[in-house]
C-alpha cells in the first residue's frame, strides 16, 4: 500500500468554495441592452446612497463554472432518490416529479401574490380545494394554509388557543394569560415548548409511563392546578405509539377548561384511518413536507397548515380564502383573528404539490399509503427485535424506536451505529430523539421503501450489531466511505467561522 503513488482526487471530490473559484472577468449572464434613455447616475441617486464597495468578494464565474460547482457539491449529499431515508418523525417519502411539474406551470409560477383576485381565480381555487381536503382528512373544518412550516403552524395554533381563551376568560394585568400553563409531554419535539413560549405560556412537562404513553395520573394532577391553557400532544407520539387514551386525555384537558393541540408531524400513520377531530383534538398543524410529500429541499421550504374546530375557526389567521357562488375571494374581515403570520398566503408552491399528491392518490390511495407505511415500520420492528433493545413493547405505528443498550456495553453508541449505516449505503436514522429514551434510534421507513430494501436495511443493522461485538473500532471510526470523516463539531462551535473571507482579510483577523 505504502509504495502506491497517491493519486490526487479529481476536483469532483475537492470542489472549492465558489469564492475561491472566482476569477475577475468571468461572466455567466447576459442582459438585453438598456432600451430606455439613460439618466446620469448622480441624478438617479446621490453618491452617498450608492454602494461604493463594488460588491467586492462576490463571485465572478462563467455559467459552466456555476453548473459544475453546484453539480459537484450536490454529489456529496445523500437523498431520497438514492435510497431509504429512515429518519424517524421526518417522514422522508418519495417526492413525485409530477408534483414538481405542476408547481412549475407558468400560470402558477408567474402569478404575483397581489394580482387582482378576479385574475387569480385558479390559485384561489387551489387553496380553497386543499383546505377542503385537509379538513376532511383531519376532521377539523377550519383550515389556514398560511404557516410556512411545522413550527410556524404550531405557533399559529397556540396563538389561536391563547386568543380563544383570552376572549373567553379575559386577560390578566400586563396582557398575561389567565391560564398560564401549557402542558407538553417529555417526549415532545423541541419546537413545541419554543412555540408555546412565543404565546406567553409557561411550559410544564407531562411525564410518560414505562409503556411510552402519556401518564394520565400525572396529567390529572397537573390539571388540578386550574391554570392549564392546554396540552400539546403528538399522536402517534414520538416513540411511534398511538396514544390509545386519546379521548380520555382530551376529556381531562377540556374538563379542566383547556384546549388540545396536536402536533401533526406523525399524521402519516393516520391519514384515511383515523381523524384527530374525531378524537377530541381542537387544533392541529400538518407538515405538507412530511405527510403530503412536498420535498424537504435540504431543510425547507415546508408548509404547516393549521386545522381547527368550528369553535376556533374565527381565530385563524387572515386572510381566509372563501367561496361565494362560483367566485373565490380573500376575506380579511375576521375581527377575532390572531392576525397574519406571514406575508401573502403561505408557501403556495407547496400547496400545489400537496394538492397534486392528494389527487394522484385518491381517497383509497391515501389510506393505502398509510397502511404501507405502518406495515413497513412493523416489518423493521420485527426484523430488529432480536438484535437491538426495544424500550417499549407496544406495536409501533409508522416508526419504531430502538436503543444502543446492548451495543454500548462494548463502547459502541447510537452515534457510531448511525455513522456506520452510512457505509452500508443508508442515511442514518433519527438519533438521540426523543430525549426520554437513552441512546434512541428512531426509525421511520415510510411507504416509499420496497421489501428488498427494507430487508437490506435490517441486514445492515444486524451486521453493525455484530461488528459492535467483534470489531468495535470499525464502527467507532465510521464512516469510512465518505469524502470526509467525522467532523470536530466542538472546535467548530468554540471558534465559529460562519462565512468565507478573502485570504488577506482572514489572516489579518
Amino acid at each position: 500500500m505504502k509504495s502506491t503513488p497517491k493519486a490526487t482526487p479529481h476536483v469532483t471530490q475537492n470542489e472549492a468554495l465558489i469564492f475561491e473559484r472566482s476569477h475577475p472577468g468571468r461572466r455567466g449572464y447576459m442582459l438585453p441592452a438598456l432600451d430606455v434613455d439613460e439618466t446620469p447616475l448622480d441624478e438617479l441617486l446621490p453618491a452617498e446612497l450608492r454602494r461604493d464597495d463594488d460588491l467586492e468578494g462576490m463571485p465572478e464565474l462563467s455559467e459552466v463554472d456555476a453548473v459544475r460547482h453546484f453539480t459537484r457539491i450536490s454529489t456529496w449529499n445523500y437523498h431520497i432518490d438514492l435510497g431509504m431515508y429512515p429518519l424517524g418523525s421526518c417522514t422522508m417519502k418519495y417526492n413525485s416529479r409530477l408534483n414538481e411539474r405542476v408547481a412549475r406551470i407558468p400560470g402558477f409560477a408567474n402569478l404575483h401574490p397581489l394580482a387582482p383576485e378576479e385574475d387569480a381565480q385558479g390559485a384561489l381555487e387551489v387553496i380553497y380545494e386543499l383546505q377542503q381536503h385537509l379538513a376532511e382528512i383531519t376532521g377539523l373544518p377550519g383550515v389556514s394554509l398560511q404557516p410556512a412550516a411545522g413550527a410556524h403552524g404550531e405557533m399559529t395554533g397556540i396563538m389561536m388557543i391563547r386568543a380563544f381563551l383570552d376572549a373567553r376568560d379575559g386577560v390578566s394585568e400586563g396582557n398575561r394569560p389567565r391560564r398560564k400553563v401549557m402542558l407538553i409531554p417529555d417526549s415532545a419535539h423541541g419546537t413545541n415548548p419554543a412555540s408555546a413560549n412565543l404565546s406567553g405560556y409557561t411550559v410544564k412537562t407531562v411525564r410518560s409511563t414505562p409503556e411510552g404513553l402519556t401518564d394520565l395520573d400525572a396529567l390529572r394532577e397537573l390539571c388540578a392546578g386550574g391554570d392549564v391553557a392546554g396540552l400539546m400532544l403528538t399522536n402517534p407520539n414520538t416513540v411511534g405509539i398511538f396514544e390509545r387514551n386519546i379521548k380520555e386525555i382530551c376529556r381531562i384537558i377540556h374538563d379542566a377548561g383547556g384546549l388540545v393541540y396536536m402536533d401533526g408531524a406523525n399524521m402519516n400513520a393516520l391519514v384515511g384511518i383515523a381523524r384527530p377531530g374525531d378524537m377530541g383534538v381542537d387544533v392541529i398543524h400538518l407538515n405538507l413536507h412530511k405527510t403530503f410529500s412536498t420535498p424537504h429541499g435540504g431543510g425547507g421550504p415546508g408548509s404547516g397548515p393549521c386545522c381547527c374546530t368550528k369553535e376556533l375557526e374565527p381565530f385563524l389567521p387572515v386572510p381566509r380564502v372563501v367561496r361565494e357562488g362560483e367566485l373565490f375571494r380573500f376575506n380579511y374581515d375576521e375581527p377575532r383573528s390572531i392576525g397574519r403570520v406571514k406575508a401573502f398566503y403561505g408557501n403556495f408552491g407547496m400547496h400545489l404539490r400537496a394538492l397534486a399528491y392528494i389527487l394522484t392518490h385518491g381517497h383509497d390511495g391515501l389510506r393505502e399509503a398509510t397502511e404501507a407505511a405502518v406495515l413497513n415500520a412493523r416489518y423493521i420492528a420485527q426484523g430488529l427485535a432480536d438484535t437491538f433493545d426495544k424500550p417499549f413493547d407496544s406495536p409501533p405505528m409508522h416508526e419504531v424506536v430502538f436503543t444502543d443498550k446492548r451495543q454500548s456495553r462494548k463502547g459502541v453508541h447510537t452515534l457510531d451505529i448511525a455513522k456506520r449505516l452510512i457505509d452500508y449505503g443508508f442515511h442514518p436514522m433519527t438519533i438521540y430523539f426523543p430525549l426520554i429514551v437513552q441512546g434512541a434510534m428512531l426509525i421511520e421507513p415510510t411507504e416509499s421503501v420496497g421489501r428488498q430494501e427494507l430487508q437490506q436495511f435490517i441486514d445492515a443493522m444486524k451486521s453493525i450489531a455484530r461488528e459492535a461485538l467483534e470489531e468495535p473500532d470499525t464502527v467507532l471510526n465510521a464512516p469510512h466511505t465518505t469524502r470526509i470523516g467525522r467532523l470536530d463539531e466542538a472546535a467548530a462551535a468554540r471558534k465559529p467561522v460562519l462565512r468565507w473571507k478573502p485570504a488577506a482579510e482572514a489572516s489579518a483577523a
Partner: protein, 447 residues
C-alpha cells in the same frame, strides 16, 4: 398506487411475516371509536394525464400571470437564469433532508455556507443565518432578537414599512410584552420621520425601517442608525427588493445592526407569494442571539475542511422554550436558488441588473409624470418603485387598464391606505421592455 413499491401481494406476505391477518390489525392500538369507518370524502385518484389537465385548466384562470405587469410591493419579477431550476431540481438537492449528518450532506452545507457569505457581502454585515421563511417573519424575528440583545421592550416601527410585514410582526410580538410604536413618514419626501418622536429614549430596543421603503423611497439609513445608537437602540433594516443591494449603499455600511431581506428577487418564481426566502444578518457580537440555523467550518481527523450546523444550542431542539426562535424547517432550497442566482449573475450581473431596474423605473416615472393629471407625490430618491397619484380612483382605473389594455399597472394603495384612493405603486424591473412601459403610459392616458 404507483408511488408504493410493494405490490398488494407482497404486502400480504409481509403482513403474514409480522404475524398479522389483515391490514386492519395494523391499527389495533387505535380504539374502535376513534377509527374512521368510511372512505375519506376526497376525490378518486387521477392519472397523470387527468391531473395535468386539471391543473392546466386552473392555471389558465390566473389571467394575471400572462399579462405585462408592474406589480412589486414585496414580490418582484426578475430574470432567472435557466440553470437555477435545473440545478435545484437535482435529486441530491431537492430530495435531501436537513443536513444534520454532515458526512452525507456536504453539498447542502457548503451551499448554505456560500449563501451565508453572500448575504453578508450584500448586507454589509458580519454574520448571516441559513435563512428564514421570508422577509415578513424575519422582521418579526429581528424585533424579538432586538429585545433579547437590549432587554428593552419598546420598538419604533416606520410607517413606511410594508403593511404586511407590520401585521406579521404585530401577531408575533402581541404576547411577548413588546410595544410597537409608529414613526410617521413625511408626506412630501415619503421618508420616515423621527424628529419629535417621543419614543426616542433609553427604553427603546430598536427602530425598524424598510429601505427602499414600501413607497419605493430610499431612506437615509445613516441618520436613522445615528438616532437609534444615540439612545442605545438597534437599527433594524428590512429590504423587500433585494435587487437594490446591487446599487444602494449596504445597510451594514450605514450602521444597521440587523438586516433582514426578502430574497425572492434572486431567481425565485413569484408563485403567488411563496415559497420565498428570508435573509437575516447581524454583527458578530450578536451571533449567539440569531434565530435559525447556522453553518460553520469544521475539520475532520485528517484535517480536511468540511461544514457543519453549529452554535445549535441557540435552537429549539436543544434549548426548547428558551431557544432564540421556534424555527426548525427553513427555506433551504430557495436559499440554494438564491445562491445559484448570485453565482451566475455574480458581482457584475447583480450591479448591472440593479442599474437597469433603476434606469427603467426612472424612465417610467418621468413618462408618467408628464401625463396630464398624473403626479408623483413623493420626492425622495427611489430605486425601482414609485407612487403615482392618478386623477381618478386608482382601483377602478387599474381594472380598466387590465381589461382594456391587458396591463397590470401596479398596486392601488387603498388596499392598505384607504386615505390614498388615487395612489398606486408602480414597480419596474429589467424584465419590463420599453415597449411595455410605453404601453403602460399610453394606457394610463386613455383610461
Amino acid at each position: 398506487m404507483r408511488y408504493i413499491p410493494n405490490s398488494p401481494d407482497e404486502r400480504q406476505e409481509m403482513l403474514k411475516a409480522v404475524g398479522l391477518g389483515s391490514m386492519e390489525e395494523l391499527f389495533d392500538s387505535i380504539p374502535q371509536d376513534a377509527l374512521l369507518r368510511r372512505p375519506l370524502n376526497t376525490p378518486a385518484a387521477l392519472s397523470e394525464i387527468e391531473l395535468l389537465a386539471r391543473f392546466e385548466a386552473l392555471a389558465a384562470q390566473n389571467t394575471a400571470a400572462r399579462r405585462p405587469s408592474f406589480l412589486g410591493a414585496g414580490a418582484y419579477s426578475h430574470y432567472a437564469p435557466t440553470i437555477i431550476d435545473h440545478l435545484i431540481s437535482r435529486s441530491e438537492f431537492f430530495t435531501a433532508y436537513t443536513p444534520y449528518q454532515p458526512e452525507v450532506s456536504q453539498g447542502t452545507l457548503q451551499a448554505i455556507f456560500e449563501f451565508q457569505t453572500m448575504v453578508c457581502q450584500l448586507t454589509g454585515l458580519e454574520v448571516a443565518n441559513a435563512s428564514m421563511y421570508d422577509a415578513s417573519t424575519s422582521v418579526a424575528e429581528a424585533v424579538l432578537m432586538a429585545e433579547r440583545v437590549t432587554r428593552r421592550k419598546r420598538v419604533l416601527v416606520s410607517g413606511a414599512l410594508h403593511p404586511e410585514f407590520l401585521h406579521v410582526t404585530e401577531t408575533y410580538v402581541k404576547n411577548a410584552g413588546i410595544d410597537l410604536l409608529r414613526a410617521d413618514f413625511d408626506q412630501k419626501s415619503g421618508r420616515t420621520v423621527l424628529e419629535g418622536s417621543a419614543a426616542l429614549d433609553q427604553t427603546l430596543a430598536a427602530i425598524v425601517v424598510q429601505s427602499p421603503n414600501f413607497f419605493g423611497c430610499v431612506e437615509d439609513l445613516q441618520r436613522l442608525a445615528d438616532a437609534a445608537h444615540a439612545v442605545g437602540a438597534l437599527l433594524i433594516v428590512a429590504v423587500a427588493e433585494s435587487m437594490s443591494f446591487g446599487l444602494l449603499r449596504s445597510p451594514g455600511a450605514c450602521g444597521a445592526d440587523i438586516v433582514v431581506a426578502e430574497g425572492q428577487s434572486f431567481g425565485v418564481p413569484l408563485s403567488f407569494g411563496g415559497p420565498y426566502v428570508g435573509l437575516f444578518a447581524t454583527r458578530d457580537k450578536y451571533a449567539r442571539q440569531l434565530p435559525g440555523r447556522l453553518v460553520g467550518v469544521a475539520a475532520d481527523r485528517e484535517g480536511r475542511r468540511g461544514f457543519v450546523l453549529t452554535l445549535a444550542t441557540r435552537e429549539q431542539h436543544i434549548r426548547r422554550e428558551k431557544a432564540t426562535s421556534n424555527i426548525c424547517t427553513n427555506e433551504g432550497l430557495i436559499a440554494l436558488a438564491a445562491t445559484i442566482y448570485l453565482t451566475t449573475m455574480g458581482r457584475r450581473g447583480v450591479q448591472e441588473t440593479a442599474t437597469h431596474c433603476a434606469q427603467k423605473a426612472a424612465y417610467a416615472a418621468r413618462r408618467i409624470s408628464e401625463l396630464e393629471g398624473y403626479t408623483l407625490p413623493f420626492s425622495a430618491p427611489r430605486f425601482n418603485e414609485f407612487v403615482v397619484r392618478a386623477p381618478v380612483e386608482a382601483n377602478g382605473m387599474l381594472r380598466r387598464l387590465a381589461e382594456e389594455h391587458n396591463i397590470t399597472g401596479g398596486l392601488a394603495l387603498s388596499r392598505y391606505y384607504p386615505e390614498r384612493p388615487n395612489d398606486f405603486l408602480v414597480c419596474v424591473t429589467e424584465t419590463n421592455r420599453r415597449s411595455e412601459i410605453d404601453a403602460l403610459v399610453a394606457g394610463l392616458k386613455e383610461v
